[in-house]
Symmetry: C2
Subunit: 185 residues, 2 copies
DNA sequence: GTCTATAGTCCGATAGAC
DNA sequence: GTCTATCGGACTATAGAC
């Protein structure tokens, strides 16, 4: 549309992931990201509240999908099953992007301040899932612990999916971790 | 001893907690904390890696106590029981400081960047607990999920202890949440 | 102990779409 | 004219380098 190239936000996201991969998060300045995306530093901060957020702005979509899925779930399931199933199906949002998920995960693993942001996003996701369970009549602290356990299972399943060579899907990895856990307890 | 007042680190911790309570974390500069503690800004960064860390440097002691406790635990317990028991007994390090725990918790709850740091500390604690379980023969992902569930229980128990008016101990709050959960599942 | 780079904020200006 | 996206420059505090 007109004077500027479209999708400045998407270009910033892409430029950031490339630069973080090439030279590391801390060795990359916001000015460099903006330059590669063809905008100014000021524009970067219009789209992202801070430098870290450029890697995390999709978490909100994931959270919305999880909450909707829990709300729509059939009651007979256990709370933990409902959360795990919601995470597995919402994870489809990430399918297809396994390569960029790998780059993103590598950048986060290498940088403590990015780990912090990731944990906050996952904690917020767990809190939203707990709230959705609560609205369906699951009492506290069961709702919270089911939500946090579900997110732990998601995290382990995600790591395995990333590490896996074969064409395993994220949803199947998550369900496999859950099944493994049930078998052991 | 001698030329300087003793325990500059403790004075910095105390000054920071006071200032964060009085005017909020973001409205407090490191220079102001250092001034109230009677040292220079430079000295602050000698003791704490960054501004946030002034509220978190005791987490390491807690982590060490938890790991030791898991290592010493009797094998017949379930992994989750071992983790919960380790957290409940290590929590004695925090008993007695319920008032400052309240101030600290309020500051963290009001400030996203402090929440991030807290989550990283708890995640690191969970990873260390998982490693200790692993060393005792508990396989992954059971060890990790037991550790993360235990930390979730700790968190809920800690919140209740903080909110409680009566003279409940932290250890008892944690065990109560665990018992409540077992009864419900 | 000083000096400097970078993150992040604030106010305002400008260019185009409608 | 209004609305939205971009840009410019000055400014403070954190944090690390020298």
């Amino acid at each position: 549309m007109g004077r500027w190239e479209a999708d400045a936000q998407g270009r910033l996201r892409q430029a950031a992931l490339e630069l973080f991969t090439e030279r590391g998060y801390e060795q990359t300045t916001v000015a460099e990201i903006a330059e590669r995306a063809g905008v100014t530093e000021r524009t970067f901060f219009r789209y992202f509240a801070d430098k870290r957020e450029v890697l995390f702005d999709r978490s909100n979509a994931l959270q919305n999908a999880v909450v909707s899925s829990i709300e729509a779930a059939d009651p007979p399931q256990s709370p933990l099953e409902a959360v795990v199933e919601a995470l597995a199906s919402a994870g489809e949002l990430l399918e297809g992007g396994r390569d960029s998920s790998r780059l993103r995960t590598a950048a986060i693993a290498a940088t403590p301040s990015l780990q912090e942001r990731e944990l906050l996003k996952l904690f917020t996701l767990a809190a939203a899932a707990a709230e959705a369970l609560h609205a369906k009549g699951v009492p506290d602290p069961t709702a919270r612990l089911a939500a946090e356990s579900g997110v732990s299972i998601f995290r382990v399943g995600f790591e395995r999916w990333i590490a896996d060579d074969a064409d395993e899907t994220l949803a199947r990895s998550i369900r496999a971790v859950f099944a493994e856990l049930k078998a052991l307890t």
